[in-house]
């Protein structure tokens, strides 16, 4: 049976070759993006696609882009990435954590193709990783929440208990505590990046428990809509969600991948691409705050001041002293938490009355 199979495949391969390899197009760089969600999620995948469009606008005829949306983080991912590599794409961005192993496997087979994997931690000679310091934005959110909340309780819709999400919760809480040390937070884990129904339910449950400012680490605008319907405040996620919550959105952390994507495409065009690990923040223009709305001027001023301080480097959200829940000193006065410790964070700061799932 094995022989027959391989013969059939071999014959088919022969036919394919006889048909002539596709002619190499002119010197146009082909770049491709792989998305975990639909481009219309108005969150994560949408923002990556905005970055792709920015690349098209910036480079015009020099670059040809394509994308595949709704790719499962399972066995299909490897095939999609492989197909893109075989279709002649020279630079491939895989934009979800679950694409890490498939990206590495395909990269091994295509040493002349450059790969960029978002949010992962494994690299290779032709695989870079990139992410953004969204926790910088969350510190600002925490301060705004502490200023605007009447109940003193923040509601947080969390996706998965991975370091990036934990660090986001901690950063928000540190920001809130810098204004009001008694701020409380309630967290609901929805175990999904994109599930509008669950996200809306979580928002409603949090509001019922007394939270009057909603923050989310999930991708759809459903929570924003729920907040708008219940007249409480909320923060947008990944993209500016003001049209879903015109009276509720205080601000939003906007993922702006455009500068990074343009830089990487340029590097390939120049022949200077190397495997790197990029973790840009406000300073690099990757973490952008949507306009501050629905808040008094003094709060707005404070938010702008904090944003400027983080951008200039004067303020680091993870500056000591920081205590763990049980009171252990994790970061000493005058020191800051190292990047590697943020990237593997699995503990809550003091003042969060909850437990990290699975710990």
């Amino acid at each position: 049976m094995r022989k027959i199979l391989s013969m059939a495949v071999a014959i088919a391969a022969g036919l394919a070759l006889a048909g002539g390899a596709p002619a190499q197009a002119a010197e146009k760089l082909k770049a491709a993006w792989v998305y975990v969600g639909p481009v219309g999620d108005f969150g994560w995948s949408y923002q990556h696609d905005q970055g792709r469009k920015a690349v098209e606008a910036h480079f015009g005829d020099k670059v040809e882009t394509t994308f595949v949306e709704n790719v499962d983080e399972g066995p299909d991912a490897e095939r999609v990435i492989e197909q893109l590599a075989r279709a002649g794409n020279k630079l491939i961005f895989t934009t979800s954590f679950g694409f890490m192993e498939p990206t590495l496997k395909v990269a091994k087979r295509h040493p002349n193709v450059f790969f960029e994997h978002a949010t992962g931690f494994k690299r290779a000679k032709n695989v870079s990783t990139y992410n953004a310091k969204f926790h910088e934005g969350r510190y600002v959110l925490g301060q705004i929440a502490a200023k605007t909340s009447k109940t003193g309780t923040i509601g947080y819709i969390a996706s998965f208990p991975i370091p990036e999400v934990i660090a986001g919760i901690n950063s928000l809480m540190l920001g809130a505590q810098s204004i009001n040390p008694d701020m409380k937070i309630k967290i609901v884990w929805v175990n999904s990046w994109f599930d509008p129904a669950k996200e809306a339910d979580a928002a409603k449950a949090l509001i019922d428990q007394g939270a009057d400012v909603i923050s989310q680490h999930t991708d759809s605008p459903a929570a924003m809509q729920a907040a708008e319907g219940r007249d409480v405040m909320a923060f947008g996620q990944a993209s500016d969600m003001i049209k879903f919550g015109p009276d509720s959105q205080l601000t939003a952390i906007v993922d702006d991948w455009a500068p990074y994507y343009i830089e990487r495409v340029q590097a390939v065009l120049d022949g200077t691409w190397t495997s790197t690990d990029t973790w840009g923040g406000m300073k690099d223009g990757e973490v952008v705050m949507a306009p501050y709305t629905n808040m008094p001027d003094d709060v707005k001023k404070m938010a702008e001041t904090t944003q400027a301080a983080i951008t200039s480097g004067a303020l680091n959200p993870f500056k000591g002293p920081i205590y763990k829940q049980d009171g252990t000193l994790m970061v000493k006065e005058g020191e800051v938490l190292a990047d590697k410790d943020i990237l593997s964070m699995n503990w809550y700061v003091k003042g969060i009355d909850d437990k990290v799932p699975g710990q």
């Binding site: 049976m1 094995r2 199979l5 391989s6 059939a8 495949v9 071999a10 088919a12 391969a13 036919l15 394919a16 048909g19 491709a32 639909p38 394509t66 994308f67 595949v68 949306e69 709704n70 499962d72 983080e73 399972g74 066995p75 299909d76 490897e78 095939r79 999609v80 492989e82 197909q83 893109l84 075989r86 279709a87 954590f97 679950g98 192993e101 087979r109 931690f121 998965f160 208990p161 991975i162 370091p163 934990i166 175990n191 990237l343 593997s344 699995n346 799932p357 699975g358």
Partner: protein, 358 residues
């Protein structure tokens, strides 16, 4: 105008054979209309969808890789459906098999275990799926609970169980808290059949299942008792076939094959446990089983056709920027068309005269 479906007694084999062909044609017509509405050239779209993937060695391999879980699960389901037992929960049995089989891979990780690991994993995978499948069978036999509901509900139980394991006890300690297990050792991975590509040994197991199922369903007393239990339960009872045994039997076979598909997928293309290990194979396999008219060879063809719609759909996204939903619409149209064709072959629509609606 009152209409009635009337069963036809004598159906020519030709009409039977033509039904799927007509269904495929209807799907093509609906598809063509859809492409035109979306502003694409239908001929080019169909070429990219259905022809181009067949002309390339790599995509041919991928076609087989994608079809093999559908095939294994679909064959198992055909046992259930022939006996009129509606197992909707193959997805859960797939996950249960993957979990139990992976347990061994994780338990022997880093121990330089011998080549017995993979075969043992396959056995455990089949066992896990069978046990999971026997739960709805037991509930039906013992309490008369609808197996449609219980098997479906158990899908979510299995998925959440897997989710818990990969986020909790089975999480890779070096994985920065990310929800996935360690990657399996070489002895726990499916051997590849060819140097280049992902064609793995599981495909041979799937083909063996086709041969075995064709024989069992077509040539043995067991196959006959399953068939009879489905088409004429009273006759089956008079003939002395135990209804309960049939229920347990078909669910065990169905679950075992789904579980086998699960562990093959995890030990093959994926290579580790993670929260998502199936893009809905267990549900798509229902389409494969129906489309293949519950015959193993038919299911083989149907699985390949369905795999082609997926792979063609990805190609269409890449080269024509066609939305992913088009693939879904395609599959849905195909299923509805095949079911409709089936009804129209077996029944005749007649106007009922002389009566009015109550």
């Amino acid at each position: 105008m009152p209409l009635r479906l009337e069963r036809q007694e004598n159906i020519s084999p030709l009409r039977h054979a033509m039904a799927p062909v007509v269904a495929a044609l209807v799907t093509l017509v609906v598809g063509a209309v859809m492409f035109v509405v979306l502003g694409h050239d239908p001929v080019r779209a169909f070429t990219i969808y259905f022809i181009e993937p067949l002309g390339d060695a790599y995509t041919l391999q991928e076609l087989v890789v994608k079809a093999s879980p559908l095939l294994l699960i679909g064959i198992g389901l055909s046992f259930c459906y022939r006996a009129n037992r509606w197992n909707i929960g193959a997805e859960g049995q797939y996950v249960a098999g993957a979990v139990l089989g992976s347990w061994l891979a994780l338990a022997t990780h880093g121990m330089e275990a011998g080549p017995w690991v993979l075969p043992a994993m396959l056995v455990l995978g089949a066992l896990g799926g069978a046990l999971w499948g026997l739960i709805p069978a037991f509930l039906r036999v013992r309490f008369g609970a609808s197996e449609i509901l219980t098997s479906l509900m158990l899908v979510y139980v299995a998925q959440l169980g897997l989710d818990y394991l990969v986020r909790g006890p089975w999480r890779d300690p070096q994985g920065f808290n990310f929800p996935q297990s360690v990657t399996f050792d070489d002895v726990a991975l499916m051997p590849l059949l060819m140097e280049d590509g992902r064609l793995h040994g599981g495909i041979l197991i799937a083909l063996l299942a086709v041969i075995a199922a064709t024989f069992v369903l077509g040539r043995t007393l067991v196959g006959f008792s399953i068939e009879l239990a489905g088409s004429a339960p009273r006759a089956a009872a008079f003939a002395g076939f135990d209804e309960k045994r049939v229920t347990y039997g078909v669910f065990a076979v169905s679950g075992a094959l789904a579980g086998l598909a699960g562990i093959i997928e995890v030990a093959g293309p994926i290579g580790q446990l993670q929260p998502t290990i199936s893009p809905g194979y267990g549900f798509t396999a229902i389409i494969a089983a129906m489309l293949g008219r519950l015959h193993p060879v038919g299911i083989l063809v149907a699985s390949l056709v369905l795999a082609l719609t997926y792979i063609g759909g990805e190609a269409a996204q890449i080269s024509m920027r066609m939305p992913f939903d088009v693939t879904r619409v395609f599959q849905g149209t195909l299923l509805i068309a095949i079911l409709a064709a089936d009804i129209l072959v077996r029944y005749r629509i007649r106007r009922v005269e002389g009566t009015t609606h109550a």
